[in-house]
Symmetry: D2
Subunit: 304 residues, 4 copies
């Protein structure tokens, strides 16, 4: 498969579409990004690399980080984790509090905000230095040692993150949070403000598609079956209340972030990351979504 | 892969679990079925067949029929269909009316009852003799000519189906139903009361996994891409508000019915149907779900 | 109190406001009414009568009729009635089905559509000829013998009343409806399409405010306490999800209808009916609401 | 009216009912109260006083305090207040966050927790020393100078009040909170932990029923119309999602608190306070509710 040519075609086609959508503006720091940025990096299980555009620019990975933290928590607790957070799509936006009230403070899945906050709560309870371990885990997945978070973005998110305070406290009221709300939120905002580029994300996600291999990074071990289940979660729940559309139109396991990134994988074949900052109303990158739809159309790659 | 031995192991293991759950009792006719029935049929793309237990007994396929009707409607309308019914998981039980009220009478997906009723409305509008065409389609998929519906079950469902009357009328109030409510419901109950056995279901579903082949049955043509999208819908929405669990634990595209059947497929490899009448609280066959979880564990078959 | 002068002042003041809102248009027959119609009739416990404008024109009383039917059902069943329908405001529009699903098919109160349909179900179960008895009851309350319903409006409502079909069937599914859906709806549309004028409505409602008197009309007996409770229901629930506003700004027990009428009463003093067809978004007459707010401001009449 | 004899009868009758319900236990300090406590104090516009039982014991007035704070805020902002908080019953429990999410952070009324928190936000924005003013207002209403709050209860509520943190932050996310969350909550818990006895509460509430009098306490002026509207709010919304029942069975304006108190008034006649710590599932005092139902039955007092 001539992936380089396909990436070129995708880039050409996408550039002819109007650049619709809006850059995430609820976080002042994120609103400053150049809306014309666009990059893709695809890497295969044979260690081939293909890239186009701004694929070496680091950006705020935001919710894509939830894949890393849920992998760590699943490694630590095994299936006990699913007593604290579900594996079902929510049918609601990522920032809805309604189901928490009706469903005893158990978030539907680890990719809605409330679920990711429970995952952080698990990491803080189980690990001596959860922050160090998170960065060790990301370093092990990518082979890159200087990945870190942007403290200005983290601070900016903290200052405007009233809804997340509401989530943590609602869950604490229902008995599903153990640690101090402030500690959880501090960690959460660091995780969300991690900056990576398309290459680094693609390399990290490739590990979730190498099903035949042992999976052990920085001491966090996952079985083949567990890795497959994280993929299933991404497919069911990775794009908020647009997850069904992503499965329907793209057909890969993936995860989006409001920084405009999407990382996805085709098990046993490749992982890919796309970045374009303008988001649709569901909070997913417009051109990122379009690019991946073109990619699976052109390659025939699809889980189905 | 020695599928026959695997089916034998599954049957042995499942029989050691307590036979929990309840036979569907909201339809008097369905409540009469023997709760100890259990059968599996697996067929491969190489036309191999493996079976165990009561795999030749016909049972009421109920919601599994929604895969057939949505395939027909997708063939007829193409992507126009998705203006009338969504492709997102609902996050709610199959018989919830709440989202219809909030979301302008557009059901979340074609596998909740309301969505299946919209699909019937499409068939009645587009086809001269929708009933004849449905059975021709099923005959073409299975190669079996005597498949029909059970008129006693259909009548029984009609007499107790007040919720479905509510769905159709709610959608009619919102402008998303064209045909007469009674006609829609008559067709719907016939579709739900179709009786097939595990072999026939497995054969029918195999066609949704032969991605390389032309797909044309009884005049209903679907492209490779369309077939993949029906699989994506099954994965996202095929098990009501337990769809995430099925993706997580089984990892195949599939569809369940309250008659106790589940049909699923592993593209390019096999299709499988299981039957065990006792249902969990979400309306899915307990032993059917367990059997498919064992099947993918033992074979390594998984979309992910 | 010079009520005639006050009505004149109200009429003058209201006519200076822009005639905003929309005539009910979901029923074609109702949409034909002249939107400039405006009338008030006030009658006191001393049998004085004051009127202005089109107070002798009959109009479709619509939901105001729910006061009559709930009075009949309360007389028949006593407090047993409240096992079938609640006495709490709904917090939702009159045509919402959401609470029925969550609350086992028990409508919040008899003034939302679903609640009024349960009341009809009670009347049909308890009375040999409920239709005859309803008109005898209204005749006894008003002293007028030729009050009847408009069959064209009733038919028009029936043909477009899909939501009401949904309500009845949802409640039937939950076990809270005994009679045939069609019979209930036929009666309900007759009740809603009763035509009365402001004088007749004021006379009828005066009986709900004569707390010292025996209350027995056409064989339907209510105790003083029961009459007070019907007033409490009107105050809590009489104006859909605008009931709090009516209590807050007007401070009387009353009931509105989408025909543009409002009837209200100040116990031991007067009853009043207003008619102006244009409705606000909550389904209440704009000028009717304004007129009653002016009336209680000018007279000091208020329950509080 | 021989009120003393009526109170005696009520006390006798209530004592024959089983003392059902549960003392509020979500606040450890409140759980320590003696569940057998029972007192009533009734005072008339003619300055007569009637009392029975533990009517001189002070208890935690909890949500009854919301009447005082909304009166202050209404005095300060006039009708501008109702842009920040509604006047409609919620149809939901006092601690539900669902409507905040759907309705842009505008609480339904000032007596649900979220609404009371908005009222506090108004007081903190409008007043230099809101705490001092609140106690001056209560002192002026009661003529008692040593009324204060219980700091242990306030602290206890703060430590377990995660839901209230969620409410404030949800509203802050929606733009309906100006002040710091911690300041709002500190004030709110002081207000809720005010301790008063039945006599003091009855005296305070009597002022809301003297409709003919000028109303000015500690500089907070309310017009006759404003006082009536506070009564309307109490009737519509004073008992959480049991407000309709209270209007239906008791027929007075009133407000309950989870400390087991209820204060109510019959305008131009009397005000009454009852205390009995055991609550029903809706959070209202069982014997308090019963006592007031008996009181209006025996006296004929009712708004309707």
């Amino acid at each position: 498969m001539n992936y380089q040519q396909i990436l070129q075609e995708i880039s050409n086609e996408v550039s002819t579409f109007p650049n619709t959508g809006e850059v995430a503006n609820y976080i002042p720091e994120l609103a400053k990004v150049d809306p014309k940025k666009f990059g893709i990096h695809l890497t295969t299980v044979n260690n081939e690399h293909f890239a186009i555009g701004d694929s070496e620019d680091r950006f705020s990975i935001q919710s894509i980080s939830k894949v890393f933290t849920v992998a760590m928590a699943f490694s630590l607790l095994g299936d006990q984790l699913w007593k604290r957070v579900g594996v079902e799509p929510s049918g609601n936006p990522f920032n809805s509090i309604v189901q928490l009230e009706y469903e005893n403070g158990i978030p539907r899945n680890p990719f809605v905000n409330a679920g990711a906050l429970v995952v952080v709560d698990v990491l803080l309870s189980e690990l001596k230095d959860a922050e160090r371990d998170l960065f060790a885990f990301v370093q092990s997945l990518t082979g890159v040692s200087d990945i870190t978070y942007n403290p200005i973005v983290a601070q900016s998110e903290k200052e405007t993150g009233y809804l997340n305070v509401a989530f943590v406290n609602m869950m604490k009221a229902k008995g599903n949070i153990e640690n101090d709300a402030d500690e959880i939120l501090d960690f959460y905002y660091k995780q969300c403000s991690i900056e990576m580029n398309c290459r680094e994300l693609a390399c990290a996600f490739l590990h979730f598609g190498e099903n035949g291999k042992a999976y052990d990074h920085a001491g966090f071990r996952l079985t083949k079956s567990q890795v497959k289940r994280i993929n299933a979660l991404m497919l069911s729940c990775g794009f908020y209340d647009e997850s069904g559309h992503f499965a329907f139109k793209v057909g890969l396991a993936g995860k989006s972030g409001v920084g405009g990134g999407i990382a996805a994988l085709y098990p046993e074949e490749f992982a890919v990351a796309v970045w374009s900052p303008k988001l649709n109303k569901k909070g997913n990158s417009v051109r990122g979504f379009n690019s991946l739809e073109l990619l699976t159309t052109k390659t025939g790659a699809s889980l189905f």
